[in-house]
Symmetry: C2
Subunit: 332 residues, 2 copies
């Protein structure tokens, strides 16, 4: 029998098909073979297979991902808050008068309770002091430098190593299937852009986030973009679909989040007339990562848990559905 | 002599090379072989040729184009203004009380002088009335419908046929060479996105423009993005580099404009430390298109003309540098 005939004969047998697929590389090796993995693969298959009634042209295969708690750890606090605190400490060391502000003092001395008590006003002051007063180029360099030295308090590893391996596999799997992957984060757009390409393979122009106001200035005849101590846009909750429409101008067909800040993004995505998929990561793995949802200070998930089932959103439980959370350390 | 040997021998001879290149398809056939065309081809060659000291990786080959007056005609008025006027007429026909507003009345009756006299306030009112009060999906449909029926007053052709053929060739030539082409327009982002892909091959996520505020709403349980009668951002002058940084997060290496509204975009682009090119289209062809610069109501060009030479920006004169302006009509 010629080779093609063998293949044709084999197609009829699901046993042989199974054996064949076992030889193909698993695109999601860190995912257990539980329902979420199967549902994701089925979804990708039905929107990419020529002739499928749910086929979606590649240009419209937009997938949007939240970052904090979806692509990397957000406990015990957002990574960017750790950056702001370290930056407050650095600034206060060279400008002691900054310690006259209770907010900056709380940050610089690591008094998280006092910092939290300062509320939204305090957080805005912290952002204004630690994220503004520089140019976009200078800020990117600050983030780059910080990210190479800062360590997560529990894992004692760089934050940049605490991305979720299953999610990096998912991003890559989607791109291999013609999707474009976007990050839609409540975090700062310019903070994330420094890291998105090396960590996730997502280029800066596919990052959406919160922003502060900027201003175009000439300094000694050279144009710079100055970062001002003023909030421009908060990319959270209903802000996410608005920002998706503004930046992408198309509705995603796949959205992945982990908190109620992602609710409207999933709602908007899955209200499309065509095929769509909403995915929520549920942090239920205190051993390998953290277990939190309804009572969390960072990444609270209440409404998403309550409504996922009736909205047909996938809930991915880290404990059962992932066989690995982080990649092994690259160096001892 | 074998074929490869012939080719190797020929490479030494510039005469033969010239003869060979004459056989290759000209990527810019609507451009005359004048200095701008040569400069553009030299620039693309030096940033794309492996081993060139000015080589730029494909991911960083960002080219930004203004739209009105750069990619399509902006006289006797911006295309989007023609849309707003037609829309005012339509709205006033079903809601006569709108005519109580002098601005809407001026627009609906085609009294451009009165409309211009209403100034910025009048223009904002016109935009609020004609561009808001609908959802993003509804607005896109309005633009789509209008664009198929509206005709340019001079050429009696659809506005969508009045794109500049040399510019469409340039967009395609750049993309063939690994560039990503973005539109950075003072016009409305949602207006332009409806047309950018069919007219220029530029997908919605590579369109930046002015915007009005939007709001996420549930209507009968279905989420919509409602367009509010309030300006969000004007993508003009210094707004252009700011929007480029916000949307793309990288500095372009090539920027093309035609008015002083594009000055800062070209300034920002050509202040890069690496190779860059700034291009200005000069409308000096009253016969085939229009001739205007320092005194124009739409697309005024003063500072760009004054400073192009010392800044090493290319000035493309439509009259001398283009052998065609528009494509021939597709139907009689």
């Amino acid at each position: 029998m010629k080779y093609l005939t063998v293949v044709r004969a084999a197609v009829g047998s699901s046993v042989v098909l199974f054996a064949l697929s076992a030889f193909a590389a698993d695109p999601l090796p860190s995912w257990n073979d539980t329902a979420p993995k199967q549902a994701i693969i089925e979804f990708v298959d039905k929107v990419t297979r020529q002739g499928s009634p749910d086929f979606v042209p590649a240009a419209e295969r937009i997938a949007t991902f939240d970052n904090d708690g979806t692509l990397w750890a957000e406990q015990p606090m957002y990574v960017q808050l750790a950056f702001a605190i370290d930056r407050a400490r650095t600034l206060a060391a060279s400008k002691p008068e900054l310690m006259e502000s209770p907010v900056i003092k709380a940050a610089a001395t690591g008094d998280l309770r006092a910092l939290a008590a300062s509320g939204e006003h305090g957080l805005l002051e912290l952002v204004a002091t630690t994220h503004a007063g520089n140019t976009t180029d200078e800020f990117a360099q600050l983030v780059r430098d910080w990210s190479t030295t800062a360590r997560h308090p529990r894992y004692a590893r760089p934050y940049t190593e605490l991305t979720y391996l299953p999610m990096r596999e998912l991003l890559e799997y989607l791109r291999t299937n013609g999707f474009r992957t976007w990050i839609v984060s409540g975090g700062g757009i310019e903070f994330l852009r420094v890291l998105s390409e090396p960590l996730y393979g997502v280029p800066p122009e596919q990052v959406i986030g919160s922003s502060i106001r900027t201003q175009y200035e000439l300094r000694d005849g050279t144009p710079v973009i100055a970062r001002l101590p003023e909030i421009d846009f908060i990319d959270d909750k209903a802000g996410k679909p608005l920002a998706i429409q503004k930046f992408i101008g198309r509705r995603p067909i796949l959205a992945v989040g982990n908190s109620d800040g992602d609710f409207e993004m999933l709602e908007w995505t899955t209200a499309a007339s065509g095929p769509s998929l909403g995915v929520l990561v549920h942090h239920d793995d205190a051993g390998r990562e953290y277990a939190y949802d309804r009572a969390a200070s960072f990444g609270r998930l209440t409404r998403g848990l309550d409504e996922a089932q009736r909205r047909d959103w996938l809930v991915v439980g880290m404990h059962n559905d992932w066989n690995a959370v982080f990649a092994a350390p690259t160096a001892p």
